[in-house]
Symmetry: C2
Subunit: 248 residues, 2 copies
């Protein structure tokens, strides 16, 4: 398994080598002290019956966002627990960008302690939609972004600013959200498609959360995830060797 990527400090390796952050229960997360920040993000997805080029199954579409800071992540953000429950806070942030969709405790999937200098616990919610609903969410995201530019942030208590180097961006406005739905297809060989997608620049927590959710929701077998991740790492290595010929 030498080719499989290892996770950073604090991460655990499962048998099939999909790295994972330290997972804690919701109850444990709720007991963390006031020094901890809570982030809540939503994975909205849909089974996709489409076929690329009429022959490659698309399997699932997952809504992710190109964030204000140039990294890929899930819609969501920090929730100030002095003012909001996790779900109310998440819905408030999503409401800025994703229209009338409302998540509940039934959509709760996991809590993970994140890496880095800041004490952040990352909660993930997941809801399966129809493909039409997923597209409607995307469209309302673009509409509300457009609207947001004209009217500015909505009234009400502000969420705290994201900690440096982490977080899902502006709860202060919607300008920072760019939505894309990503299909989990792998055209041609294991070397392209999903592995290419994984070789993009993610906010690291979101990448771990994506892999975790795809695994526990049985959207992709763990071996396939590990293979895709190893192929993505190989791609990143090759791309970098091209950029830095002196290090090869």
């Amino acid at each position: 398994m030498g080719r499989c990527p290892a996770a950073g400090a604090g991460a655990k390796m499962s048998a099939a080598a999909v790295p994972e952050l330290k997972r804690i229960s919701r109850v444990e997360a709720m007991r963390l002290g006031p020094g901890w920040s809570h982030s809540c993000h939503a994975m909205l997805y849909a089974a996709n019956p489409g076929q690329l080029f009429g022959r490659i199954p698309m399997r699932f579409s997952v809504l992710m966002q190109m964030r204000f800071d140039g990294l890929l992540g899930f819609p969501g953000g920090f929730v100030d627990r002095r003012f909001w429950s996790l779900e109310d806070g998440l819905n408030r942030v999503l409401g800025l960008g994703l229209g009338c969709l409302r998540l509940t405790e039934a959509d709760y999937l996991s809590s993970h302690l994140t890496e880095g200098p800041h004490r952040v616990v990352a909660h993930l919610y997941a809801r399966q939609l129809t493909l039409e609903q997923l597209h409607a969410v995307e469209i309302s995201a673009v509409h509300s972004r457009d609207h947001g530019l004209e009217v500015g942030p909505p009234p009400g208590p502000r969420a705290p600013p994201p900690a440096p180097g982490f977080g899902s961006g502006p709860a202060e406005g919607t300008d920072g959200y760019w939505d894309l739905s990503v299909s989990l297809c792998t055209p041609r060989r294991t070397e392209s498609g999903f592995p290419n997608f994984l070789s993009n620049a993610f906010i690291s927590t979101a990448k771990y959360q994506l892999l975790f959710a795809l695994k526990v929701l049985n959207m992709m077998p763990e071996e396939k995830l590990a293979e895709a991740l190893a192929a993505a790492t190989e791609k990143q290595k090759k791309a970098l060797e091209k950029l830095l010929p002196s290090s090869s």
Copy 2:
């Protein structure tokens, strides 16, 4: 300038170290033989007066797409010159995904010979829109994607399939297009924002075209582009070192 990334074979280094593919004139490109494939892509952009967190200027928004193969690129695709002029072919591909927008020869920006085993000349068109127009294009892209899933590809002659490992994907349908507009802001330091965005996985031609266009359209000074590219390479290196601890 040792930290600045070098381009691959066939690329030239300019004084400020923004790598560039071999540029040829439109006339030269039109004289290339039938063994050459022609790709046409559009950079649609808008000045963005918004401010991230109310203080960081967004400068410009540029429409790019997360493609069917997990890589970022511009909207567009291959044009079969037996059937179409460059512009008609481009508009046909854009029409599948971007609504009623039509580009003309006046929007032509450049032709570059691409790297790789296939003989491909990449034509780039650029048009500045208002931010509202850019958002309207994004919205129609999501709508037509939704529509495309139900009705399949439109009638008429098919564009040739993309060459392996290159191209901007399906002219055969719209399922493969995911649009995102990216703002050229650099929050906090030179280490984040645009450099983060550049550290994503691009179809390589698109990355060169983006840098070229930002330079010649005076959207970003060449020194800033070179700085951002160097910072992006540094980010990719650090991310890879984390994934491959054995190589550090």
